[in-house]
C-alpha cells in the first residue's frame, strides 16, 4: 500500500499544500504594509534554520567523538607500541649482577610487605593475636603497638612475606591490613661473593661493595651488570683459602687474581666473609674486605718493586753485586737478613734469597727522590683510583719531609709503609706485563680503562726472569706448578703492635705471575697470622704456608683459565710412559 499523498492518481496532498500556501501568500503580497513583517518573518526563519543547523552539526560531531574509541585523538603505531612496551615492563627495579660468563650472582625477587591502616582497625587485640600467630618472629605487643599507632594511616608490620603467609593474612579478612608489592635482593651464592658484591639495606639501597658504588647504574637500567669475576674460579680460590685458614689456624686470608694485560679482576676473596642475605651488625669484623681495606706492611714482597726501582733508575745493573756479609746500621737501627747468606749477592740473588741488606743497598744507591717518585708512579702513595669498590684503604707512609735515610732503607724491604693488597697486585701487574699500569676493574667493559707506562719493557723482562728464579731456587719453591712457569716473591711481615713488632704474629704474602715467559695472570695470596704446625716444623714463614697455598690455587685455576701448560717434550713423554 502506498502512503497517503504518494499515489499517482491522487496527489491531492501536494495540491492541498500548495493551495494552503497560495492562500496564505496572496493577501500578504497584496498588502504593502505587511511587507516588512514578511521579511522579518523570513529573517527569523533563516536565523532559526541556521541555529538548528549549528546544533545539528554540533550533535553530529559530538556523536562521532563519542563513538570513536579515544575521541578524535589519533595514535600512531610507534606510539602505541611504546605504550604497550611500557605496560609489560618488569616490576623488578634493581638490575641483576652477573659474572663474566653471565651466571647470576645477585638478583631481586618480587615480594610483598604487610602494612596496616590504624585508622581503619576495628579490633586491634584480635588482629594482633592472629598476626602474631602467623608470624612467630613478631611479638604480640609490637604488633599491637603498630596497629594502634595514633594519627597514622600507614604502619609497616612486616617486610617480605612468603606467599603462604600472604594467603594466611588474606584469609583473616581484616580490611585494615594491606599489602604493598616490593622486592628483595637475593645473593644466590651466599658467602662466595660477599666482599665483591656487598649488600643492600631493607630499602634496597647499596651499603657496600658493587651494590654501593654502582647503585645508580643498577637502579637506572634493567640491563644486568656484568662483572669481570669468574664464578668457578672464585669458588676454587675460596675453597683453597678456606682449607689454608683451617690448616694453618690463621685468623684470615685473602686472594686476588688479576689479568695483567687488562687490569680485570678474575677473583677476589677475603676471609672471614659473611652471608649478605642475612643482616649482620655493622661492627662485625667479617665485613672487613682485606683486599681493599687493609693497609698492611707487605714485607719482602716489596723487594720486587725495590729491585725494579734499581734497574729502572739505571743506577743499578743486573750484573752488579752487593755486600751482604754483615748487618748494616742506619740511625742506630741494625738491619739483618732473615736468610743470611753472608756473601756478596747479585741483584737476582738479593731477590731469590730475600736479602734485606741487599735491598737497602739498592735503595740507597737510587736515593730518596727516586724512591718516592717510583712509588708514586706505581700508585702506592694514594688510594687506588677509579676502583669500583668504594671501601678502599689510604696507604700509610712518612710524609716527604720525614722520609729519612731509615725510611728509604725500611721501605726497600716493605716496612715503614702500609698499602693494600689491591695496590700491590696492580703495581705488580705493571711490573711483569711489559711496564703498563692498568687501573684495576671489576666491571666488564668494551672501552678499556686508563692505563699508562710506568716501566720500560726491558726492566719488566728482567724482573720476570728474576721472579722465576725465586720460585725455582729461592723462597717460593713450593709454588712451582709444572708447566705453568710460576714466578713470584714471598713476604713475611711481623705485625706491629703497640709500637713494636710482635714475633709471633705475622702477615704472610706471596705475589706471583704465570706463565712468566708471557704473563697472563697475577695472583696475590695473603694469610693473616698463620700458626706453625707439625708439617711446617712449627715455622710460620711465608714459604711454609702461603706459598704452597698459592701453588695449589694456580694448579687448579690455570686449566680453568684455559692456559696451556708448557712442558718439555721429554718430560711429557716420560709422563706418558709412566702412565702406560
Amino acid at each position: 500500500m502506498l502512503p497517503l499523498g504518494l499515489s499517482k492518481k491522487n496527489n491531492s496532498f501536494y495540491d492541498m499544500d500548495q493551495t494552503r500556501f497560495s492562500r496564505l501568500e496572496t493577501p500578504l503580497f497584496e498588502e504593502s504594509n505587511n511587507l516588512t513583517a514578511l521579511q522579518i518573518c523570513r529573517n527569523r526563519m533563516g536565523i532559526a534554520i541556521f541555529a538548528f543547523l549549528i546544533i545539528y552539526v554540533f550533535i553530529s560531531v559530538r556523536i562521532i567523538m563519542v563513538c570513536l574509541p579515544h575521541g578524535i585523538k589519533i595514535t600512531f603505531p610507534e606510539e602505541a607500541y611504546a605504550v604497550h612496551a611500557s605496560s609489560i615492563k618488569s616490576t623488578i627495579s634493581r638490575a641483576d649482577i652477573v659474572d663474566r660468563n653471565g651466571s647470576i650472582l645477585a638478583t631481586s625477587l618480587p615480594t610483598v610487605n604487610l602494612y596496616a591502616n590504624p585508622k581503619k582497625i576495628q579490633n586491634p587485640k584480635d588482629a594482633a593475636e592472629k598476626l602474631s600467630f602467623i608470624f612467630p618472629d613478631l611479638n604480640y605487643d609490637d604488633i599491637y603497638a603498630k596497629l594502634t599507632k595514633k594519627k597514622s594511616v600507614f604502619s609497616m608490620i612486616k617486610h617480605d612475606l612468603s606467599p603462604a603467609q600472604q594467603a594466611e593474612v588474606n584469609a583473616l579478612g581484616i580490611p585494615a591490613l594491606e599489602f604493598q608489592t616490593s622486592e628483595k635482593r637475593v645473593y644466590l651464592h651466599n658467602n662466595l661473593f660477599a666482599h665483591v658484591l656487598g649488600y643492600t639495606n631493607i630499602d634496597n639501597v647499596g651499603q657496600a661493595g658493587i651494590e654501593k658504588s654502582m647503585h645508580q647504574r643498577l637502579t637506572e637500567s634493567s640491563k644486568p651488570l656484568e662483572l669481570t669475576i669468574d664464578m668457578g674460579i672464585q669458588d676454587t680460590v675460596r675453597e683453597e683459602l678456606l682449607k689454608a685458614v683451617e690448616k694453618y689456624k690463621a685468623i684470615g686470608a685473602a686472594a686476588i687474581l688479576m689479568d695483567v694485560n687488562t687490569g680485570e679482576i678474575i677473583s677476589l676473596v677475603s676471609l672471614p666473609d659473611y652471608n649478605p642475605n642475612i643482616k649482620i651488625p655493622l661492627d662485625d669484623k667479617k665485613l672487613f674486605n682485606f683486599i681493599t681495606q687493609a693497609a698492611y706492611e707487605p714485607g719482602s714482597v716489596f723487594k720486587t718493586f725495590n729491585t725494579a726501582l734499581g734497574l729502572e733508575s739505571g743506577k743499578v745493573k743486573i750484573t752488579d753485586k752487593f755486600d751482604a756479609t754483615k748487618p748494616i746500621v742506619i740511625q742506630k737501627r741494625t738491619i739483618r737478613d732473615d736468610h743470611a747468606k753472608n756473601a756478596w749477592l747479585s741483584v737476582s740473588e738479593i731477590l731469590t734469597y730475600s736479602s734485606n741488606i741487599g735491598s737497602v743497598k739498592i735503595a740507597e744507591k737510587v736515593g730518596k727522590e727516586g724512591q718516592i717518585n717510583f712509588l708514586k708512579n706505581l700508585g702506592f702513595l694514594e688510594k687506588v683510583a677509579n676502583f669500583e669498590i668504594s671501601e678502599r684503604a689510604r696507604p700509610l707512609f712518612q710524609n716527604e719531609k720525614n722520609w729519612a735515610p731509615i725510611t728509604v732503607a725500611t721501605v726497600s724491604y716493605g716496612h715503614g709503609i702500609s698499602v693494600s693488597p689491591l695496590h700491590i697486585i696492580t703495581a705488580f701487574s705493571a711490573l711483569v706485563n711489559g711496564g703498563i699500569y692498568h687501573t684495576p676493574t671489576l666491571i666488564k667493559s668494551d672501552t678499556p680503562k686508563v692505563s699508562r707506562r710506568v716501566l720500560s719493557e726491558h726492566t719488566s723482562e728482567q724482573m720476570r726472569v728474576m721472579l722465576r728464579d725465586v720460585v725455582l731456587y729461592g723462597t717460593g719453591r713450593k709454588a712451582e706448578v709444572p708447566g705453568y712457569e710460576v714466578g713470584g716473591k714471598t713476604g713475611t711481615a711481623n705485625k706491629a703492635t703497640n709500637g713494636s713488632y710482635a714475633q709471633s704474629r705475622v702477615t704472610n704474602s706471596f705475589i706471583s705471575t704465570f706463565p712468566t715467559s708471557n704473563p697472563k695472570y697475577a695472583l696475590l695470596v695473603v694469610i693473616d697470622e698463620p700458626q706453625g704446625i707439625k708439617e711446617t716444623w712449627n715455622l710460620r714463614t711465608a714459604g711454609m704456608n702461603v706459598v704452597p697455598t698459592s701453588g695449589k690455587i694456580i694448579a687448579s685455576v690455570a686449566p680453568q683459565l684455559g692456559l696451556k701448560a708448557n712442558f718439555d717434550i721429554n718430560t711429557q713423554k716420560a709422563h706418558i710412559k709412566a702412565i702406560q
Partner: protein, 118 residues
Amino acid sequence: MINTKTALTALWFTLTCFVIFACFILKNQVHNLEHELAKINQNIASDVQNIHVLKAEWGVLNSPERLKKLASEHMSLNKIRAEQIINYSALPFENESSAIAFASNEGRDLKKMVKTER
C-alpha cells in the same frame, strides 16, 4: 525537484545513521580488543616475572658448590691437572710413521719430516 530533495535528505539521514552505527560498532570492537590487550599484557608481565624467578632458581641450581657435590656423587671425575694436557707430538703413535710411508711415494722424506718434527 521536491522528490529528489526528499530522497537526498533521506539518503543523508540514512548515511548519518549508518555512520553513527558503524562508529558505535567500531568503538565496541576497539574496546573489546583493548580489554584483550590489557589481559595479554598482564599475562606477559606475570610471565616475565616468573621467568625472572626461574632464572634465579636456575642460578642457585648452577652454584659451584651444588655442582661439585653432584659431580662427586654421580661422576668419577677429578680436577684436571696440568700434566694431563700434552702436546700432540708427545703422543707415542707406534705405527704412525710406517703408515704414512706406505701411503706415500715419498715415504722416506715424510718419515724424516715426522722424525725432525718430534
